[in-house]
């Protein structure tokens, strides 16, 4: 097998143009390798590309680990980071890997959807910035071309002060989300609701957002209506982790609870 150890993004994307497999934290790729689902024979190891670990204001480099985001990230993203895997996984796994793997259950993805983040990608021939909803196309399907590398995620400069992340799973540690959710609320009431694990891609509950954004001081009945709308907007499936019915219910309960935290 052939491995390359680029030190710069330019070297990394040049190696990718030959059809190599990018390797960052390995927490997704190695599971597939260990179970015999993949056997890459040409790997580009990205851990030594310092540029990818840069965190420049509102642009988080793809190589920034969950551990670092847990300590330094914006509130709801840091809360999400704290629920990613275990300490071992958070020391290795990166936000770029979460984005490129594009699991419906990716814990970091609802935050990116909630704040309308863009994904920065680069190839040997150029770079582009892709809005999150044009990047995530389906279950583990993205707009990323084979010769492109996710180099970072670009957040808006001004993030809502009130933001909260929550996750439902079968236990507190080391769990893949049954439902995960981010709610943000601006002082003028503008509310955003993004969810994971309830659709093929991270999604926004736009009708629910519109309804609750128009209410300056939501009453109990407004909150109940909000929860009902969120549950109606998601499109979950039944699988080995949960049923569609439970996910739908949990999505409404979780979104309402997180909105409550933003209103406090």
């Amino acid at each position: 097998m052939d491995t390359q150890y680029p030190k710069t993004i330019d070297e990394a994307v040049s190696a990718l143009s030959d059809g190599a497999t990018p390797l960052a934290g390995g927490t997704d790729l190695m599971v597939e390798v260990n179970f015999g689902h993949r056997r890459p024979d040409h790997v580009v190891a990205l851990r030594r590309v310092d540029e990818l670990a840069e965190w420049d204001g509102s642009t988080i480099g793809a190589g920034v680990t969950w551990r670092r985001i847990e300590l330094e990230g914006p509130k709801a993203l840091a809360e999400a980071a704290r629920t990613v895997g275990s300490p071992q996984i958070r020391n290795a796994g990166t936000i770029g890997g979460n984005v490129a793997t594009a699991s419906p259950a990716g814990d970091g993805l609802p935050f990116l959807a909630a704040v309308d983040a863009s994904i920065e990608v680069r190839s040997a021939t150029g770079s582009r910035s892709i809005q999150w909803d044009e990047f995530f196309l389906g279950v583990k399907k993205t707009a990323l071309e084979a010769d492109e590398l996710v180099t970072g995620v670009d957040l808006p400069e001004d993030l809502p002060e009130r933001q909260a992340f929550g996750k439902v799973g079968v236990r507190n540690a080391m769990v893949i989300a049954t439902v995960c959710c981010v709610v943000t609320r601006e002082l003028d009431g503008l509310t955003r609701v993004a969810l994971g694990s309830v659709a093929p891609t991270p999604m926004r509950a736009r009708q629910s957002e519109e309804m609750i954004s128009a209410v300056a001081r939501p009453s109990e009945s407004d909150l109940a209506e909000f929860a009902r709308l969120v549950a109606a907007e998601v499109s979950p499936i039944t699988d080995h982790r949960s049923t569609a019915e439970y996910r739908r219910h949990a999505a409404g309960v979780l979104a309402r609870r997180l909105l409550g935290r933003c209103l406090r």
């Binding site: 390995g26 190695m30 599971v31 260990n34 024979d41 190891a45 300490p87 071992q88 290795a92």
Partner: protein
């Protein structure tokens, strides 16, 4: 290809022809079977090692990515015949039953105490959240680690 790195202070080389894990190389080529192989998906923590100072699951590190790195395994936690305080405390508290998870817990706990000599009980529990034990119910493990923190306060 040949991969060169440092394990427990000694330079080593391994011949790697497939994308095997660092765990496989440690156990099968380098005669370091302390790190256990169980879930192979980062769930159980029994293969916990320090890679360039960061606690990781060796099963999720591609061996070729250890090139030029420094690895510390459970075999490198005791120094020159003196057990690490975590090892002593786990022995004394009876925090070992079948022993399969013990190496991973020793490495994770040693990493915790390196970063914070006096963690709280919650911090201890969070530090070993990635290490699954199916025998002890964690009570004795947490008590052992609390005693290490207590001695240092």
């Amino acid at each position: 290809m040949i991969v060169s790195f440092i394990v427990n202070g000694e330079g080593v080389t391994a011949r790697v022809t497939t994308p095997v894990s660092l765990l496989d190389v440690l156990r099968d080529q380098l005669e370091l079977p302390g790190s256990k192989s169980a879930c192979e998906q980062g769930e159980c923590g029994s293969c916990s090692v320090l890679l360039d100072g960061a606690l990781v699951c060796a099963c999720l590190v591609m061996a070729v990515d250890a090139e030029g790195s420094t690895v510390r395994t459970v075999e490198g936690i005791a120094s020159e015949g003196t057990l690490h305080p975590v090892q002593v405390a786990m022995h004394e508290a009876g925090a070992v039953q079948c022993g399969f998870c013990t190496p991973g817990i020793v490495v994770a706990a040693a990493d915790l105490f390196d970063r914070d000599p006096t963690p709280t009980t919650d911090q201890i529990k969070e530090a070993v959240a990635g290490n699954i034990c199916r025998c002890t119910g964690y009570g004795a493990i947490v008590r052992a680690l609390e005693s290490v923190a207590g001695e240092r306060r």
